[in-house]
């Protein structure tokens, strides 16, 4: 396994260590907002273990992925709201 993986977050290409979760990669990209709540608030991960659904992002065009439970893969395109 290579030590780092190339991904893109909101169109910006970056490399993160292999094994990093998508959520941690989004933070590493300098972003703080992952999604917008039903009343319009910015939201980001709370539980880190797959239960709160606050960390949802779009991965390779698939919306509502729980980013804390998914490790990065080479070439993954991630976007937040």
């Amino acid at each position: 396994m290579p030590d780092t993986v190339e991904i893109s977050v909101n169109g910006r290409t970056m490399r993160v260590p292999a094994g990093t979760s998508v959520a941690s990669a989004v933070f590493a990209a300098g972003l703080t907002q992952f999604r917008t709540s039903v009343s319009g608030e910015p939201r980001a991960p709370l539980c880190g273990m797959g239960i709160c659904f606050e960390c949802r992002v779009t991965i390779d065009n698939q919306p509502h992925c729980r980013s804390c439970q998914i490790p990065v893969q080479p070439g993954m395109r991630i976007s937040t709201t």
């Binding site: 709540s37 709370l46 273990m49």
Partner: protein, 426 residues
């Protein structure tokens, strides 16, 4: 459809121990977990990253046995008679039929609402640690750790060890309760050594008791928290706040299967049997008790589920000792009533549907709240607001319906078409 002797839901310490013991009896095993790897909440990140020898030993033993593991999968629904589980994987859906089932679904953190708790940067205590273990950069970040329980200390030590600046640890329990607990620790030498080494690594971090976060502030993300202690308040600037008020059992799957509950936990007997034949439950879904209790309960369940009752019974002494420690722990860190005053009228209690505290105050039960406010009806299905509503209003969820996780339509259709096939062939 896949058949097996023992289905094990959860690959934390309890599920791993159950798998190892069931394997000794030659049983075919399928282990299922939502996480990408085994280890559960405490041993996240694989064998190589573990610092405790206990963790490395159990992970190695688990990897060494012959079993079929479904990682990164969610069990979204289950039926008791015959025992059937509907599992959603990355690739699709699968139905698993088992002779017996061991539920080792663990626990989640209790998040209590306070003004500003929905700001990005406010996370759980184990939550922030899990994020850090999966690559969140924390070096040089300023962090306040708050809430209740021994996890605060373990996580503060971890964060400090990885280069974060932990500004303070705020424990809501009073010092007197912790002192009484400390005296009990003296009777458990292994734990005392752990506590001592923890204390060393926490050197320099203030550990304040009877202290909690009153509110969090920031423009679009967390910038500071306001602390309260002895009637005084003060502001601490920070990048992250790690806040959780203890743990709450993940009992949804057991409830869905119809297992008898005892309050919020799954009721089991001395052999980890639930009220339903061939369904066992082990670890923190039967009560919060820490890793040693989870392991011994898992071992008992693994033996019992494969008919090894003699071996299972021999572990009762070990279980009793771990339980005594857990009881002392839960008494010492009981939550104080003042925390019920933290939410303001406009503070969201349900983060999925943005339901405020004021709206919940106007209804009488969780059932009515669901109908009239959509509280607990979002994707987390009450996993976050449920424990908060239990603490704030004394509400319990009365019934659990499938799917217990939001499932893809395709997964549910798999189930339906198989059911139709069965009905058609009858």
């Amino acid at each position: 459809m896949t058949g097996t002797d023992v289905g094990i839901l959860g690959a934390g310490p309890a599920g791993m121990a159950a798998a190892i013991r069931a394997h000794e009896a030659g049983a075919r095993i399928i282990v299922m977990d939502d996480n990408p790897g085994a280890g559960g909440q405490i041993w996240r990140g694989g064998e190589r990253t573990q610092t405790s020898s206990q963790a490395r030993q159990w992970l190695r033993r688990f990897q060494g046995i012959e079993q079929f593991t479904l990682a990164n999968c969610r069990v979204v629904s289950a039926e008791a008679n015959p025992l059937k589980l509907l599992v959603e994987t990355g690739a699709g859906a699968e139905e698993i039929v088992a002779r017996s089932l061991i539920l080792a679904t663990g626990a989640r953190e209790i998040f209590l609402p306070f003004p500003g708790w929905t700001l990005p940067g406010v996370m759980g205590v184990g939550g922030l640690q899990a994020m850090a273990k999966s690559g969140l950069p924390i070096e040089g970040k300023t962090i306040v750790v708050a809430g209740s329980g021994p996890l605060l200390l373990a996580v503060a030590a971890y964060l400090k060890g990885h280069g974060a600046e932990v500004k303070l640890i705020a424990e809501q329990a009073p010092r007197s309760a912790l002192t009484r607990f400390g005296v009990k620790l003296l009777r458990t030498p292994g734990k005392l050594a752990q506590a001592a080494s923890l204390q060393l690594s926490l050197l320099g971090i203030p550990y304040l008791q009877s202290c909690w976060i009153e509110r969090a502030e920031g423009d679009g993300h967390l910038e500071a928290v306001v602390m309260r202690r002895d009637g005084k308040t003060w502001t601490v600037a920070c990048d992250y706040a790690a806040v959780a008020y203890g743990l709450y059992p993940n009992a949804e799957m057991a409830a869905l299967l119809g297992c008898r509950m005892s309050g919020a936990v799954v009721a089991v007997d001395e052999l980890q049997r639930t009220s339903i034949e061939n369904i066992y439950c082990a670890g923190e879904c039967t009560g919060i008790g820490g890793v040693d209790l989870s392991i011994v309960e898992g071992e008992i369940a693994g033996y019992a589920a494969t008919g090894n009752l003699h071996r299972a019974r021999k572990l009762s002494g070990r279980r009793k000792r771990a339980q005594a420690f857990a009881d002392a722990l839960n008494t010492a860190f009981a939550l104080r009533a003042e925390l019920k005053q933290l939410p303001r009228a406009d503070t969201f209690v349900c983060r999925c549907e943005d339901v405020t505290f004021a709206r919940l105050q106007s209804v009488r039960s969780f059932r009515v709240a669901k109908l009239h406010t959509r509280c607990g009806m979002g994707p987390c299905q009450g996993r976050v607001c449920g424990p908060a509503a239990d603490f704030l209003f004394g509400w319990r969820t009365e019934s659990v319906r499938p799917p217990v996780f939001p499932a893809r339509l395709g997964t549910l259709i798999t189930k339906q078409s198989e059911e139709e096939e069965i009905t058609a062939s009858q």
